[in-house]
């Protein structure tokens, strides 16, 4: 077991490595965590995940931009690859939360969705990414197959966003306890609500927090609509 001080140093190294998109440093500290007996789940959640959370904040406040987010994500995944195999139960069962993600059919704009995926990966969710131009049925099928808590749907074009109320309804009809979250440039919270969704996030940084809130609300039996 490392000393308390060394443990803190490793967690900070992971955090800093993600924020500074220093992949080498993240790899080095991830190996140190495993080699020196830091709990892998702690390293993941208290090092990498909080680092990525910080990156989300920097993006939301326009200090970081998309290319930098992608670099941070590379650093994050380099760390996840090393740490995850050492987490008991594979790393995501601890949080136990699952999300299905995809861009609606007719739309291939997936940068936003990919950033959202990174944030959920970082936060320890199990992510089922359907990609872009996803037929509406696929969201319903995948949710049923995985029993995901949340379905996150993205659209960039006003033409493709028109499918969102339909897919939201399809998912909710099958399983009213699934939380549906919408996002993408033309979407606002008002539109998401009018489409029958439970949640909305303005950017990738806010998506995980919103999803967490939605899951809690649904567990308490109070969806956005009652």
């Amino acid at each position: 077991m490392p000393s308390n001080e060394r443990r803190k140093q490793i967690l900070k190294g992971l955090y800093d490595g993600v924020v500074a998109f220093d992949e080498d440093s993240v790899v080095e500290f991830s190996k140190a965590a495993i080699g020196e007996g830091v709990d892998a789940y702690d390293a993941l959640m208290k090092g990498l995940a909080v680092g990525m959370e910080k990156v989300g904040e920097l993006y939301a406040s326009r200090e970081y931009f998309v290319p930098e987010l992608l670099l941070c994500a590379d650093a994050l995944y380099a760390g996840l690859d090393i740490l995850r195999p050492h987490v008991k139960g594979g790393g995501s069962e601890e949080s136990g939360k699952k999300i299905v993600l995809g861009v609606v059919e007719g739309d291939v704009h997936d940068i936003g969705k990919n950033l959202v995926k990174v944030m959920f990966d970082a936060a320890g969710w199990e992510v089922y990414d359907l990609g872009n131009d996803v037929p509406l049925d696929r969201f319903v099928e995948e949710q049923q197959k995985t029993n995901a808590d949340v379905v996150g749907i993205s659209a960039l074009m006003t033409t493709s966003m028109l499918a969102m109320p339909r897919v939201t309804k399809m998912i909710k009809t099958r399983n009213p306890n699934v939380a549906v979250m919408l996002g993408g440039a033309p979407i606002t919270r008002e539109i998401a609500t009018s489409y029958g969704a439970d949640g909305y996030a303005d950017n990738a940084g806010e998506a995980v927090e919103e999803a967490g809130k939605m899951v809690q609300m649904i567990q308490k039996g109070e969806t956005a609509h009652n």
Partner: protein, 280 residues
């Protein structure tokens, strides 16, 4: 290659030999909460204001898009077209993917419209091209099909070719087809803009058609977007975009500078005149 579009009283000629034609983008509710709310309520005052302001800013053509959720576009689009025709006299680009809305808008339009748009998807070709033919309109062809937007120049060129073949087979003149290669964000893949530029170059070289493009997508997720948009605009105009869809008030100076440098502004009078007007 000359594409002519007109209002009841004005003709605009789009051609690589002439100054770049600016299509005003602002009558479009995407990302504009106020306009979206007004349209939802059926209120067209903002549409009239945007039309006037853009023509004052020297837009040559105005794009009119009223596509928002829970609104019957087939009713609203012709109303919007009439509202715009009441206050300005430039030709219009009627922007919808809904064939019923396009048909209704074309019934009410006076002049030779630009229909925005048809794609390489068979459904779209079958529904939109007959309208183009019937109304002797010009049409924007988007280089996307059932598979989405190709990630390479080859794919975009072959969809453009398909659109031209299908349209000309119906008797639509080549010059009435304007291709849009579709700009994409470059933040996630720094080869994106280069691929688009290459597609534009090839469509000009191989098909000789006029081309349009909304350029602001390229800068998504990046700081100082107007700077990137302007640099990109200059490049695509140089390669063959002859009628970009833009925020005219913001980018006209850059376009005039580009035209002046490309020898499309005799004695640079448009550039100089615009300077004098700004300097007043």
């Amino acid at each position: 290659m000359e594409t002519r579009v007109s209002s009841a009283t004005k003709e605009v000629i789009i051609s690589g030999e002439r100054p770049t034609v600016l299509i005003g983008e602002r009558i479009n509710p995407t990302g504009k909460k106020k306009l979206a709310a007004a349209l939802q309520a059926g209120d067209l005052d903002l549409v009239r204001q945007e039309a006037l302001a853009q023509v004052q800013a020297k837009a040559d053509i105005l794009d009119v898009n009223v596509g928002i959720p829970e609104v019957d576009e087939a009713t609203l689009l012709p109303r919007a077209i009439r509202a715009v025709m009441d206050v300005v006299d430039v030709p219009l680009s009627i922007d919808s993917s809904n064939p019923k809305a396009l048909a209704a808008a074309l019934e009410t339009y006076r002049g030779k419209a630009l229909i925005n748009s048809v794609t390489g998807q068979n459904d779209s070709l079958e529904q939109i091209l007959p309208l183009v033919k019937e109304h002797q309109a010009a049409v924007v062809g988007l280089t996307m099909d059932e598979e989405g937007i190709p990630t390479d120049a080859d794919g975009r060129v072959s969809i453009a070719r398909k659109i031209v073949e299908r349209a000309t087979a119906m008797g639509i003149p080549r010059e009435d087809i304007i291709i849009d290669c579709l700009s994409m964000p470059t933040a996630a893949d720094n080869k994106t803009a280069i691929v688009i530029i290459e597609a534009i170059r090839r469509i000009r070289a191989e098909l000789g058609l006029n081309q349009t493009m909304g350029t602001s997508n390229v800068s998504f997720g990046l700081p100082d977007r107007p700077l990137l948009n302007s640099a990109f605009l200059a490049m695509v105009i140089q390669q063959g975009v002859t009628c970009p869809v833009v925020d005219v008030a913001k980018v006209r100076p850059f376009v005039l500078a580009t035209d002046a440098l490309l020898g499309r502004d005799m004695y640079m009078q448009r550039y100089i005149q615009a300077f004098r007007e700004r300097d007043k």
